[in-house]
C-alpha cells in the first residue's frame, strides 16, 4: 500500500469537494448500517433513559425509616419522653422488644439496624447523678449508613435535651451551637448529586458500546479490506465512523439531560451551552476510546471483553460520581486522571448544582479536550491501511 498517509500522497491528490463527497458516502453507509441493525439506535436512545430511570430511583444514600429495636427495661415517664423524640423522627422506625436477647437476635438476623437500650436504672440515674447512660448499638457492616444513623441519633438526642430543658423550665444553654449552611444542595438529597454523575457514567457506556465493536466487526467480516482497496483515506474511514455515532450519542445525551431536569427535578443552575459543549468533548473522547479498543482488538470477542473491563467499572468507581476522589489515596487519585468520566462528572455536578464556575469548567474542559485528542490520534496512529 503506497498511500499509507492517506491523501497526503502524490498519487491523485483529491480535490476538497471529492474528499467531502467520499466522506458523505461513508457517513451514509454507516447510517444505513445503523438503520439495518437497530440495536445501535436502541443503545443510543433507549438505554440512557432506561438506565437513568432505574439508577436515578435506585441509587440513594439517604437512609430513612431505619428499623431500630427499642429495649426499655423499666418503662417510666422519663423513658417515654426519651423514646418519643426518636418516634417523631422520620429517620427511624422503632421496634419495641422486651429484652436484650431478643434485640440482639433481631440485629443478627438483619430485622433491625440497631438497638436503643435503656437500662432499668435510667430514671434513677437521671435523678441522682444527672447523666444516665443510653446504649446505642448499630450494625456497622454498612459503615456509611451506620455513620449517617449515628448522626440522626445525635439529632434526636439533642431534640430531646431541648424538650427536657423546656419542660423543666430551665432554658437549655449549649455553649457553642453550630449553624449549618449547606450550599448548592440545602436539603442534602443524594439524588441531586448522583443523577448528574450518572449521566457521565451512562454516556461512557453508550460511547464505548457504540463504537467498540464497529471497527472490529469490519476487520472480522472482511469488509475492511474492501474499504482499503477504495481510494478513501484511513482518517476518512475513521471520520465516517465517528460522525454518525456522535450524532446518536448527542441524541442520547439530550434525552438524559431532559430526564434529569424534567423527571428528577434536578436544578440546572448553569448554562445549557456549557453542559453540551463539555458533553460533546466527552463524547468525542468516549467514542475515541471505543474506536481505539476496536482497532487494537481487531476481533469482536476481545473488543467486547476490553469494553466491559475498561468502561463501566472505572467510570462507576473512579470518576467521583459516588466515591469522593479526595478521600482516595494519592496513587489512586493519579489513576483517576486517566478516566475521562472523572472530568465530566466534575463539570456536570457543578453545572447542575452550583452554576457556571469557570475555575471548575475550564481545567476539566481542557482535560476532556486533551483526552479526546489523545484517544482519537492514538486511534488514527494505530490504524493502518494495510493488511497484516
Amino acid at each position: 500500500m503506497k498511500r499509507q498517509e492517506g491523501s497526503k500522497g502524490t498519487l491523485g491528490e483529491p480535490s476538497r469537494g471529492g474528499r467531502l463527497m467520499r466522506l458523505r458516502g461513508l457517513v451514509r453507509k454507516e447510517f444505513l448500517q445503523i438503520l439495518r441493525d437497530p440495536s445501535s439506535i436502541a443503545i443510543a436512545f433507549v438505554m440512557p433513559v432506561v438506565l437513568l430511570l432505574l439508577f436515578g430511583y435506585g441509587l440513594s444514600l439517604d437512609a430513612e425509616h431505619v428499623p431500630l429495636a427499642v429495649v426499655v427495661e423499666e418503662p417510666s415517664a422519663e423513658t417515654a419522653s426519651f423514646i418519643g423524640s426518636f418516634q417523631q423522627s422520620r429517620y427511624f422506625e422503632l421496634v419495641p422488644l422486651s429484652n436484650m436477647r431478643q434485640a440482639e437476635q433481631a440485629l443478627r438476623e438483619h430485622r433491625v439496624k440497631g438497638i436503643i437500650y435503656l437500662r432499668e436504672n435510667f430514671a434513677r440515674q437521671r435523678r441522682s447523678i444527672g447523666a444516665a447512660p443510653v446504649q446505642i448499638i448499630l450494625n456497622g457492616v454498612d459503615a456509611n449508613t451506620a455513620r449517617l444513623v449515628q448522626g440522626y441519633v445525635n439529632g434526636a438526642w439533642e431534640k430531646w435535651l431541648e424538650l427536657e430543658a423546656r419542660s423543666n423550665g430551665v432554658p437549655l444553654t449549649i455553649p457553642v451551637q453550630v449553624s449549618e449552611r449547606v450550599w448548592f444542595n440545602s436539603e442534602l438529597r443524594s439524588q441531586d448529586y448522583l443523577v448528574p454523575g450518572l449521566i457521565a457514567v451512562i454516556m461512557t457506556l453508550i460511547g464505548a458500546l457504540l463504537t467498540a465493536m464497529v471497527m472490529a466487526r469490519e476487520w472480522e467480516r472482511g469488509t475492511m479490506e474492501a474499504l482499503l482497496v477504495t481510494p478513501v483515506a484511513i482518517q476518512e474511514v475513521l471520520l465516517g465512523k465517528l460522525v454518525p455515532y456522535f450524532v446518536l450519542g448527542m441524541g442520547g445525551l439530550i434525552l438524559s439531560v431532559g430526564t434529569a431536569v424534567g423527571l428528577f427535578a434536578i436544578p440546572l443552575r448553569g448554562s445549557v451551552v456549557v453542559l453540551f459543549a463539555a458533553s460533546s468533548l466527552f463524547l468525542l473522547a468516549a467514542l475515541g476510546m471505543g474506536l481505539l479498543i476496536s482497532i487494537v482488538a481487531k476481533n469482536q470477542f476481545v473488543a467486547g471483553q476490553i469494553a466491559i473491563i475498561v468502561t463501566f467499572l472505572p467510570a462507576f468507581i473512579l470518576s467521583g460520581f459516588i466515591f469522593d476522589i479526595g478521600s482516595m489515596p494519592w496513587p489512586i487519585q493519579m489513576i483517576t486522571h486517566l478516566i475521562p468520566a472523572r472530568y465530566l462528572v466534575a463539570i456536570l455536578q457543578t453545572v447542575f448544582l452550583a452554576g457556571n464556575v469557570p475555575s471548575v469548567i475550564w481545567p476539566n474542559g481542557a482535560a476532556l479536550l486533551l483526552m479526546a485528542i489523545l484517544f482519537l490520534s492514538l486511534g488514527r496512529w494505530k490504524s493502518h491501511k494495510r493488511l497484516e
Binding site: L51, G58, R108, A131, V134, L313
Partner: protein, 369 residues
C-alpha cells in the same frame, strides 16, 4: 459422556486462551481492578480540606479551632480574612467547608453562656457533606463538654454510648471489599460466557457442534464448566487478597462462603449462556452482557443499600443473583453468619441458575438460523 464433555472443555479453554489478548484480559485486569477499586471505593473521609475565617479576637475561638486542627479528619487549607473569600474557595472545590467564627464569639460565650459558629458546607456531594457535618458536630460537642465542665454547668441528663457491631471502627473498606469479590467474579464469568455461543454462531462452528453426536446437555456443560473453573479460581484469588492484603476479617466458615460462590457462579453462568444463546451476533451478545451487568451491579447493594431504594425497585432486585451473593459475602466475612441463616440467600440463586441454564440449553437447539 464425561470424556466427551472433557474434550469440549479443552476445546473451550483453547478458544478462550488461544488469543494472547483474550488471555490477558481475563487474568490481569481483575487483579489490578481489585487493588485499585479496593482503595478507591471508600466513603470514609480523611483530610477534609477546610478553611478558617476567624473574626474573633478571644481565646475561646482559637480553642475551638484547635479541635479542628488536632482532628485526623480535617486538613486546614487557608485562613480567610474577608467574607468574599469564602465563595471562590468552595466553588472551586478547594475546600469542603469553611468554619466561620464571628467577631462576638468569645464575648457571647462569656456573657450569654452561648455562642454560635457558622459552618458553610459544599453540598454537591451530599454524602460527603453529611459525614463532614457529623465530624464538625462531634468536635463542637467535645468543646462544649470541656467548656461546661470548666464553668460548672450541669451535664446533660443522658449520655449516648454508641457502639457498632461487626465493624467497630466503621471502616467502609470492610463493607466494599467483600462486595468487589462479587463484582469482579460476575464480570469475569460474563466475559467468558456471554459472547461464547454468539461467536461460534457467527463463525458457523456452532452448527458443526450441533451435528456431532453431542447431546445439548453435554454442549451446555462444555460451555458452562470453563466459566465455572475460571470463576472459582478468580474468586479464590480475590478472597485471598481481601483477607491478606486488605485485612478484612473472615469470621464465617469457608464452606458457607464457597457454597455461596458456587451458587452465584451457577446463576451468573446461567444468565451469561442465556444471553449468549439468545444473541445472533456478537454485538448483540456484548449488548446483552452490558444490559445485565450494569443494572445487576448498581442494584445489588454494592454501593448503596437496597433498603434505601423505592419499593418497586426493591422488587426488581429480587431477580438479581448478585443481591443475594452480596448478603452472603458480607454476612460470612464480617458477621460470621452460619450456613443455616443464609439458606434464604442460597435458594434464589439456585433457582435463577437452574431456570437460565435450562432455557439456554433449550435455545441451543431452537435458534438455528
Amino acid at each position: 459422556m464425561w470424556q466427551r464433555v472433557a474434550a469440549l472443555i479443552v476445546k473451550e479453554f483453547l478458544a478462550l486462551l488461544k488469543d494472547p489478548k483474550s488471555r490477558f484480559v481475563i487474568v490481569i485486569p481483575p487483579m489490578i481492578q481489585l487493588l485499585v477499586f479496593g482503595y478507591a471505593a471508600t466513603y470514609d473521609l480523611n483530610d477534609i480540606p477546610y478553611a478558617v475565617y476567624n473574626e474573633d479576637p478571644g481565646a475561646e475561638g482559637r480553642e475551638l479551632l484547635a479541635g479542628f486542627r488536632l482532628s485526623p479528619h480535617f486538613r486546614e487549607i487557608a485562613h480567610l480574612s474577608h467574607d468574599a473569600d469564602i465563595a471562590p474557595l468552595i466553588d472551586k472545590r478547594e475546600v469542603l467547608l469553611v468554619v466561620h467564627i464571628g467577631p462576638r464569639f468569645s464575648r457571647d460565650l462569656a456573657t450569654a453562656q452561648s455562642a454560635s459558629v457558622q459552618v458553610i458546607v459544599d453540598g454537591r456531594n451530599s454524602n460527603t457533606a453529611l459525614l463532614a457535618l457529623g465530624y464538625v458536630r462531634s468536635i463542637v460537642h467535645r468543646f462544649n463538654d470541656q467548656w461546661a465542665a470548666r464553668h460548672g454547668q450541669p451535664k446533660p441528663p443522658a449520655q449516648l454510648e454508641m457502639r457498632a457491631w461487626f465493624n467497630p471502627n466503621l471502616e467502609s473498606r470492610w463493607f466494599i471489599v467483600p462486595g468487589i469479590v462479587a463484582l469482579l467474579t460476575l464480570v469475569v464469568t460474563m466475559l467468558v460466557t456471554a459472547l461464547s455461543v454468539a461467536r461460534e454462531r457467527e463463525q458457523g462452528t456452532f452448527d458443526q457442534l450441533l451435528v456431532t453426536p453431542f447431546r445439548p446437555a453435554e454442549i451446555l456443560l462444555g460451555k458452562a464448566l470453563p466459566g465455572f473453573i475460571i470463576g472459582i479460581g478468580e474468586a479464590t484469588v480475590i478472597v485471598l487478597l481481601a483477607i491478606f492484603w486488605f485485612k478484612v476479617p473472615l469470621w464465617g466458615s469457608l464452606l458457607t462462603l464457597y457454597t455461596g460462590i458456587t451458587l452465584f457462579l451457577v446463576s451468573a453462568i446461567g444468565v451469561g449462556l442465556m444471553i449468549s444463546s439468545l444473541a445472533v451476533t456478537q454485538q448483540q451478545g456484548l449488548l446483552g452482557a452490558f444490559f445485565f451487568l450494569v443494572p445487576a451491579i448498581i442494584l445489588s447493594g454494592f454501593a448503596t443499600p437496597i433498603a434505601n431504594m423505592p419499593s418497586f425497585i426493591q422488587k426488581i432486585t429480587l431477580v438479581n443473583p448478585m443481591r443475594y451473593f452480596m448478603e452472603i459475602l458480607r454476612g460470612v466475612f464480617l458477621e460470621g453468619m452460619p450456613f443455616l441463616m443464609l439458606v434464604d440467600q442460597f435458594w434464589p440463586m439456585a433457582v435463577i441458575g437452574g431456570v437460565n441454564l435450562t432455557l439456554a440449553g433449550w435455545l441451543f437447539r431452537r435458534r438455528l438460523y
